[in-house]
């Protein structure tokens, strides 16, 4: 029998949750696990706020007339939905909650390299969130989440400044988290944890950190310039004053396209862990998956121009960006093929986290393939700014990120809280979400192909059937998101106590008690074997 890791003492009863009590012990904590829970609370809050705006949007689109809200209100609804969901949920969700909790545990470190900086990034995130919430309370913002100039810098009468400041501030939280992860992964690995023994979750977060570090400052400066232009009318982007609005789009998309990979790469990292654990097989093509993460991060910086095919950039730039965009499909497909190969002849068990992982593969594949349509210059000109685009990026960003986030949350919930959630309800919720999601967004592909433009609150009558289907799906999806919320909270009080390793999974995080002690490892573990070493013995253990 292979024992790749040293035995750890299991007597400790003090864990990170009960080591100290009171609100101060949480607000001044530097423990990465507690900070992860702080993020979990704030991210969940923003998710339901953003979801609330989505509900209003789908209610308005039930009928072809604009009978629920005025066009101006509608503009504010989809903008706030986009801003909150992207900057305050999708980007931080997996890195800040699961990454914060797991990165040190998975590499055998006692904490992140800079614990106080880690707490600071939560405060920065909260501060940015407060600015954006203030903007919401004072009437919202109507520019679309992309803040295109010169509308955002000169003409819009909504709370552009408050929202921009909120996003600017939150960007620094993202930068600091990326910095912390990168240094931790470089310098804090346990003895024997070589680069090619790292869990693929860590590789994914390493690649994500690179994007956060290189991309976020650029969007920060672009938003700063929009703010300066709004305040002082300095005209860097305003064509009336000699400026160039395309420059804003270049600066904005230089970050905001890679930002999609900030959302999806950590999601892929989660899926690696889930697929290999629940099919009881060593992951197929470890190094291909690791390098494909890096390849996605690098290629992600070369493709921003595909958002600007119809903006008036040169046709040659469009052609180059079209080809480069298609290249991203290669590392993405590498991952999907490797997951499929891992599943092949695996002894697959369909626990709730696995259902989310399989759902992820389905949704991500649909989203990825439709991405090829959009990368093709001529097709994009036809479906540009239609619901086809809306459906595509919801499949990738929402389908991808949320499925993986929920899957990961279920998988590590026993570790994080020391409690087991009700498995039947969890499987049911995964099913409801998958069905609801497809019913919501698949009709939008057809709507977009037929020519329904995005961001309109009225539409011709022939689109109503598909829109009603989409709204019905959204209500199912909404219920699907509420169920886990309920049973997770229920499990905190009534759930059975979780063992150290409820899934029979491999990885350092499963060797510590659930919930882990304050400093993670009483004795620094020494790693001697490969990751994902699912042997026949562990299969038997799993069967029991």
């Amino acid at each position: 029998m292979s024992t790749p890791l040293v035995e750890l003492p299991r007597t400790s009863r003090v864990n990170y949750l009960n080591v100290s009590y009171g609100i101060r012990s949480w607000l001044f904590t530097t423990d990465h696990k507690r900070i992860a829970l702080l993020y979990l609370a704030s991210v969940t809050l923003f998710f339901f706020l953003g979801g609330f705006f989505a509900v209003l949007i789908r209610l308005e689109l039930m009928t072809p007339q604009g009978d629920l809200v005025q066009s101006e209100t509608y503009n504010r609804l989809f903008t706030m939905h986009g801003v909150i969901m992207i900057f305050f949920f999708l980007i931080p969700a997996i890195p800040a909650v699961l990454g914060n909790f797991l990165v040190p545990l998975m590499i055998g470190a006692r904490d992140l390299a800079f614990p106080r900086l880690n707490l600071l990034s939560w405060y920065i995130y909260t501060l940015g969130g407060l600015f954006t919430l203030a903007a919401t309370v004072f009437g919202g913002v109507d520019t679309g989440w992309t803040f295109y100039t010169p509308y955002s810098s000169t003409y819009s009468n909504s709370n552009v400044m408050l929202t921009a400041v909120g996003i600017f501030i939150t960007g620094f939280s993202s930068i600091l988290t990326g910095l912390n992860f990168l240094v931790t992964i470089h310098k804090m690995r346990a003895p024997g944890m070589t680069w090619f023994r790292l869990p693929l979750f860590i590789w994914a977060h390493y690649a994500t950190s690179i994007i956060m570090i290189l991309g976020t400052p650029v969007v920060a400066i672009a938003i700063l310039l929009v703010g300066l232009e709004r305040l002082f009318h300095i005209g860097i982007f305003d064509p009336k004053l000699g400026g160039d609005p395309l420059l804003f789009q270049h600066l904005f998309w230089f970050y905001s396209h890679p930002a999609v990979y900030i959302m999806i790469l950590p999601a892929m990292g989660v899926i690696n862990e889930l697929i290999t654990c629940f099919s009881r097989r060593r992951i197929f093509g470890y190094s291909f998956i690791a390098f494909s993460s890096i390849a996605i991060a690098v290629l992600g910086f070369l493709v921003w121009g595909h958002h600007m095919f119809t903006s008036g950039q040169s046709i040659y730039a469009g052609m180059v960006f079209s080809v480069l965009t298609m290249l991203v499909a290669i590392p993405s497909a590498v991952k999907v093929f490797n997951w499929t190969a891992t599943l092949y002849k695996g002894s697959v068990s369909y626990q709730a986290p696995m259902l989310y992982a399989l759902g992820f593969i389905g949704l991500f594949t649909i989203g990825g393939l439709t991405g090829i349509f959009l990368a093709t210059l001529a097709v994009d000109v036809h479906v540009h700014d239609t619901y086809f685009v809306v459906a595509h990026f919801h499949y990738i960003m929402v389908g991808g990120t949320i499925m993986a986030y929920l899957g990961g949350l279920h998988y590590w919930w026993p570790k994080m809280t020391g409690k087991i959630y009700p498995e039947g309800w969890a499987r049911f919720a995964a099913l409801v979400i998958f069905v609801g999601f497809n019913l919501t967004f698949f009709p939008q592909f057809i709507l977009g192909y037929l020519g329904m433009p995005r961001r309109y609150h009225v539409y011709p009558e022939e689109f109503q059937v598909l829109n009603v289907m989409s709204s019905a799906g959204a209500s199912i999806l909404g219920v699907g998101y509420l169920i886990p919320m309920i049973y997770f909270i229920w499990s905190l009080r009534y759930g059975p106590k979780a063992p150290e390793n409820p899934w029979g999974a491999k990885g350092l995080e499963w060797l510590v008690p659930s919930p882990p002690p304050p400093h993670n490892f009483d004795v620094t573990p020494v790693v001697t074997g490969e990751p994902y070493d699912y042997t026949p013995e562990s299969e038997e253990a799993h069967a029991r």
Binding site: A109, R110, D111, L112, A113, F114, P115, I175, L179, N180, L182, V183, T184, H186, K187, M188, A190, P191, G192, I213, L214, G215, T216, P217, V218, A220, I221, A222, L224, L225, L228, F232, H233, I234, G235, I236, L241, G242, G243, D244, L247, H250, L251, P517, P518, H519, D522, V523, T524, V526
Partner: protein, 228 residues
């Protein structure tokens, strides 16, 4: 090497060591030093990207309006700019000497060089205040009060927009840097640094040199366009 030391480092180290500079989650001071230094380098990469957005904007508009930028650039006082460049290069030297003093454990010299570095930084900011007040006086601040004679007024306003954005952001970094050095001076005065532990001085030095280097690029790009 770390494998052998690992078992000795338990969660109780932070308590045992009292006010030791070693944080509880590191195995040894060397690991802590390496992490801090890498962290600062990574932070400086984000700073390069942050200024990079402005440099990209500058490149776009200078290639669009080469003559307008040259005309506007003549309104800057290159002598003051050159003086400030010299001041910052000197401050980089004194900062490097401060780091060396910290490595050698010479606390008095460390405090002296930190103070000189701060003083040079303040001289730089003082000159910047003089320059800014001239520009305000000459109506060269972009916005409704902007006045510029000749056919290049629009390009000149863009030039001054970028001038204020870039030098303003740089000056903000100087202010932050001086604040950091002040904290270091107090810590040095309390005797917190030793040849075994001088990480904050080293890391602050990296930051200071970075801010100087940004100015080394800003000076020719903004002041010397028409003199090449």
């Amino acid at each position: 090497m770390r494998a052998e030391m690992a078992s000795g480092a338990s969660s109780a180290t932070s308590v045992e060591l009292g006010r030791s500079p070693l944080a509880h989650h590191f195995d040894d001071l060397e690991q802590q030093f390496e992490a801090s230094t890498l962290g600062m380098w990574v932070f400086l990469i984000t700073e390069v990207m942050f200024f990079g957005g402005l440099f990209a904007s500058y490149a776009v508009y200078r290639s669009l309006y080469p003559e307008g930028f040259a005309v506007a650039s003549r309104r800057l006082d290159y002598l003051l700019g050159a003086f400030n460049t010299a001041v910052l290069i000197c401050s980089s030297l004194t900062m490097a000497l401060a780091v060396r003093s910290a490595q050698l454990g010479q606390s008095r010299a460390l405090r002296l060089f930190l103070a000189v570095t701060m003083a040079l930084g303040l001289v730089f900011l003082g000159v910047k205040v003089v320059e800014y007040s001239h520009k305000i006086h000459e109506h060269l601040v972009p916005g409704p009060s902007f006045r510029f004679e000749g056919p290049h007024a629009r390009a000149a306003q863009l030039f001054f927009s970028l001038y204020f954005a870039m030098t303003g952001l740089h000056a903000l970094h100087m202010v932050v840097g001086i604040g950091i050095l002040a904290v270091l001076w107090i810590l040095a005065w309390r005797g917190r640094f030793s040849p075994q532990y001088y990480t904050p001085v080293e890391v602050a030095g990296l930051y200071w040199h970075f801010v100087d280097i940004v100015w080394i690029y800003l000076f020719p790009l903004l002041y010397l366009i028409s003199r090449t």
